[in-house]
């Protein structure tokens, strides 16, 4: 078990290293260099050189890579020193910036996932219990429909209806109204911080701002989750051990519990993949609702050719995905004793 986890983490680190190096070189292929943005209207060759030097771009590529990885801590701290470098746009450490953007996204996606999951399990089960019945058809069509929706469009639609037409939702302006001061961050997750700091006004406000985006994301993600639960549940109900359980007269409730447990184990992998996908796809909902999440940060970084920020974002998102995959694999192993590491 421990051996398995450490092996996975080891392979993961190697993969992240490969990813880092790949991204490092790919973004340096970009046809535009970031220097122009800095020098602005003054494009004299001297100023250009000055700006280039400022960014460290005058060094040979491999030296830059070395600096980024942390082999030249005299020049600047790098990965080995737990630094993702400094953003070229804001001059802030990238790690610190990601630390403020990532929780927004994680919070949104996690809420949406929990919400979707809590709804989907009973719905998916209801479908599986009576296959081919009216309820099942409804559940099935719903799952296919929800799973194929453009969530950003639903976001716009909800804004139009709930905010513009009916006035029942707050303006799509991020987590807090501009005049509310956020509590001093502890974890970086606004909802958690609000509770920890006893700022329930902030909690209420943030939650009311999260209603629409969470509904949108949950709606979309509920499709595949319901479909998967329904399918796994059906498969479990068709399995030999359920038939056998019935043939020795186990009570209905017991049969249901057997089946649910068997349906959950294989669902974990897909949940992980969905979560990872949502994490990088949340950018659409973020921009519709002006949430300052990691997707917005990523877009801003790419648009501004902010190399350290791009590298940081890719690395962090990939790392988060890998960690989530690992966690869900471990949960699956906890549910299913056949999986041994």
């Amino acid at each position: 078990m421990l051996k398995y986890v450490s092996r996975r983490v080891g392979v993961g680190l190697l993969q992240l290293l490969a990813l880092t190096i790949a991204v490092f070189f790919i973004i340096r292929l970009l046809p535009a260099d970031p220097v122009a943005r800095l020098v602005g209207m003054n494009a004299s060759p001297e100023a250009y050189a000055q700006a280039e030097q400022q960014l460290g771009l005058h060094r040979p590529l491999l030296t830059q890579l070395g600096v980024y990885l942390g082999f030249d801590p005299e020049i600047a701290p790098g990965l080995i020193q737990a630094s993702l470098g400094v953003s070229w746009v804001t001059g802030e450490p990238v790690l610190k910036e990601i630390g403020t953007f990532l929780p927004v996204t994680l919070q949104l996606v996690t809420l949406a996932f929990v919400f979707a999951f809590v709804l989907s399990v009973p719905i998916g089960m209801a479908g599986a219990l009576n296959p081919g019945g009216g309820a099942d058809k409804g559940v099935f069509v719903y799952s296919l429909f929800a799973g194929s929706q453009p969530e950003f469009w639903w976001g716009l639609l909800l804004i139009y209806l709930c905010f513009f037409q009916w006035g029942i939702a707050p303006a799509p302006l991020g987590l807090l109204s501009p005049l509310t001061s956020a509590p001093e961050p502890i974890t970086g997750f606004l909802l958690v911080d609000a509770v920890l700091r006893g700022r329930f006004d902030v909690l209420h406000e943030a939650l009311s701002h999260l209603v629409l985006p969470v509904i949108c994301l949950s709606f979309v993600v509920s499709g595949p989750i319901i479909k998967m639960i329904r399918q796994n549940m059906m498969r479990a109900l068709q399995s030999d051990f359920i038939l056998y359980g019935r043939s020795i007269g186990l009570p209905k409730k017991r049969i249901g519990r057997y089946a649910l447990r068997a349906a959950m184990a294989p669902s974990m992998t897909i949940i992980g993949i969905l979560y990872g996908f949502m994490l990088s796809g949340a950018v659409l909902i973020e921009s519709v609702f002006s949430l300052n999440g990691i997707g917005q940060y990523a877009i801003r970084s790419v648009l501004n050719f902010d190399y350290p920020a791009i590298q940081g974002v890719v690395l962090v998102i990939a790392a988060v995905s890998l960690v989530i995959y690992l966690l869900l694999d471990l949960i699956q192993a906890a549910i299913d004793p056949r999986i041994v590491y």
Partner: protein, 611 residues
């Protein structure tokens, strides 16, 4: 056993239907049967004949979307088909219980077996979880599982097939049902395990005074354990007779057909080939080891294997699963690269040839696989499947290939029209003939058959064995027939080799080995084999040469005789000294120093006589 006793279960004109294309197909169509208290009844029928459907329907269970369309099942004065699901649930497990094939799939993989047995028990009693656990231990002890306190905490996948089947019997009998429906309980188990298990089941049921409905395709199991036999055909019970009568004088055509081979053979053994014939295959040495993933250990699949086969001779290679017999077959045709070998085919050492050089021998050595469905490419037409070897190995025109394909189809008794079909929808028997045809298309001199009949229903199996016998005589091909089915070997082969843990432990003519096995393992194997002979029922003759326990791990082999840990005759010498294969005076070889010294065939019941 008294016929006057009131039936425990009485099913009348039972019809089970599955909707298909607007109407119902009826796998069970008017079946009637009775089971009396403490009676062991066999139900026999082809694969897909509806045996399992009927068995489940007797408990009021039908797999959706099927339904019971008519008839009645009377049990304890109530018609089960009229009961609500909740009332039925109470019946199941308490009054009628079941065990099914594939025990490891039928046990919940996520829950410890002790808890499962406890759940089954508590479903019908007011027992507390602690009492349930105690009951589980008690039941596991009863079905003969060692160390039940530890085993209750095991998961299904941690048990061997035989052990899982015992656990299932424990679960099924926990609430003391009056009828146990056993649906193919031993399919997929090795003969020695199968015998142990059926013995145990039989014994347990005797102790709990339950009745058994034993659903099986295996005539041996039916003959050895049942009091009465029912034959299911076309959805009806076509024959209902006491076991001896059934084997001696089957009435219905279907029964006659499945007993056909059994009757045709009689007591004769196949004729030996002439001593003058050349050895087509000489295996002087064959050793095969597989590395274990993430470990330095190796699996010793085959060690010190030696065998000669004469041109035109059929040799049976028998042994339980894990004995390495399939690996031997694959090494001989170089589907596997042996770790160490000298394999001479027609004088050439083919054991160490690279795949390219091996190609010129490919047309002379062919292989027939176990699973007929799996061994043909489902996307190709039969014709394409057949001529694939010709494309690879022969230089023929399209027309020549086609002609050859038609010839082999005729040879295996299939209509040429089938050539245009795809395998989808063809039965196992037909597909296995196609496989054999494909193996024969290059006119090989030597054919390895790896359990070619194990997935076939009795009728198809009989027909295929007859075909093989005929082909071998007509074409004069040498055969290595790998199987665990001793009945077939006895019918088809001139010589037989018995394998255990990667070694041949005994080898000789079929007559020698079957009538006078020298090695304790051969003795146990023959002993455990359920010959379809109701006159020498196992339950009537408790045997003493049964083996204990299960086969040791091939990773960590014993120092001395590999059988020592299970052999009833083993002593300190056996445990410490490795055994060599020695030729006895009558040409038989054996790997047992005791047998070698005795030089006397061990005494044995004439198990091969027919009824």
């Amino acid at each position: 056993m008294s016929n006057l006793e009131k039936p425990l279960l009485d099913a009348r004109d039972l019809i089970v239907g599955y909707p298909s294309g607007g109407h119902y197909s009826r796998p069970v169509n008017g079946a009637s049967l009775t089971i009396r208290p403490r009676e062991v009844v066999g139900l026999i029928g082809d694969a897909g004949s509806g045996k399992s459907t009927l068995a489940l329907a007797l408990m009021g269970l039908v797999q959706a979307p099927g339904r019971i369309l008519g008839g009645s099942v009377e049990f304890g004065g109530q018609d089960l088909t009229k009961l609500s699901e909740d009332e039925l649930r109470a019946f199941r497990g308490r009054d009628i219980s079941a065990i099914v094939q594939n025990p490891r799939g039928a046990l919940n993989p996520l829950i410890r077996i002790g808890e499962q047995i406890s759940n089954a028990y508590r479903a019908h009693t007011r027992a507390t979880p602690a009492e349930g656990r105690a009951k589980a231990i008690e039941m596991l002890t009863m079905v003969g599982i060692n160390d039940p306190e530890r085993r209750v905490n095991a998961y299904a996948h941690e048990l061997s097939g035989g052990m899982a089947q015992r656990a299932m019997i424990a679960m099924a009998l926990a609430a003391k049902p009056r009828l146990l429906i056993a649906d193919e309980p031993t399919s997929g188990l090795d003969v020695t395990i199968q015998a142990q298990l059926l013995d145990q089941m039989w014994q347990t049921v005797q102790d709990t005074e339950s009745a058994i409905l034993l659903v099986s395709q295996d005539l041996g199991a039916i003959a050895n354990y049942c009091d009465r036999v029912l034959a299911l055909h076309d959805g009806k019970i076509v024959e209902d007779a006491p076991v001896r009568q059934f084997f001696a004088m089957p009435q219905h055509d279907y029964s006659k057909e499945i007993l056909g081979l059994h009757h045709a053979q009689g007591d004769r053994f196949p004729e030996q080939v002439s001593d003058a014939a050349n050895d087509i295959l000489e295996v002087e040495k064959l050793r095969m080891e597989f590395p274990v993933r993430n470990s330095d250990n190796v699996v010793h699949a085959v060690g010190d294997f030696r065998l000669n086969i004469k041109a035109g001779e059929a040799v049976g290679l028998v042994g339980e699963s894990g004995s390495g017999k399939t690996t031997v077959g694959r090494c001989l045709v170089r589907l596997l690269d042996p770790t160490e070998s000298i394999i001479r085919f027609d004088g050439f050492d083919i054991g160490s040839l690279d795949q390219r050089s091996m190609r010129k021998f490919r047309s002379r050595i062919q292989f027939v696989f176990q699973d007929p469905f799996d061994s043909v490419n489902p996307r190709w037409s039969v014709s394409d499947i057949l001529i694939e070897p010709l494309r690879q190995l022969a230089d023929m025109s399209r027309a020549e290939r086609r002609k050859r394909a038609e010839e082999v189809m005729e040879l295996v008794g299939l209509p040429v029209e089938l050539l245009e079909r795809k395998p989808r929808g063809l039965g196992a028997g037909i597909l296995q003939r196609i496989n054999i045809a494909r193996a024969l298309i290059c006119e090989p001199e030597f054919l390895v058959l790896d359990e070619p009949t194990s997935v076939l229903a009795p009728r198809a199996r009989n027909a295929l064995i007859e075909l093989l016998g005929k082909l071998q005589k007509e074409l004069g091909i040498a055969l290595l027939f790998i199987t665990h089915d001793l009945t077939t070997v006895r019918y088809l082969c001139q010589r037989v080799a018995v394998m255990y843990l990667g070694q041949i432990v005994e080898e000789g003519s079929v007559e020698q080995v079957f009538t006078a096995p020298r090695h304790p393992y051969s003795q146990a194997l023959l002993e455990a084999h359920l010959f379809p002979d109701p006159d020498h029922r196992r339950v009537d003759h408790p045997s003493d040469s049964a083996l204990d326990g299960e086969i040791p791990s091939p990773i960590d082999l014993p120092t001395g005789c590999y059988l020592a840990s299970r052999c009833p005759h083993a002593d300190e010498t056996c445990r410490s000294i490795p055994q060599n294969l020695s030729v006895l005076s009558d040409g038989q070889t054996v790997r047992c120093w005791k047998a070698e010294h005795e030089e006397e065939p061990a005494e044995m019941a004439p198990a091969t006589k027919t009824g």
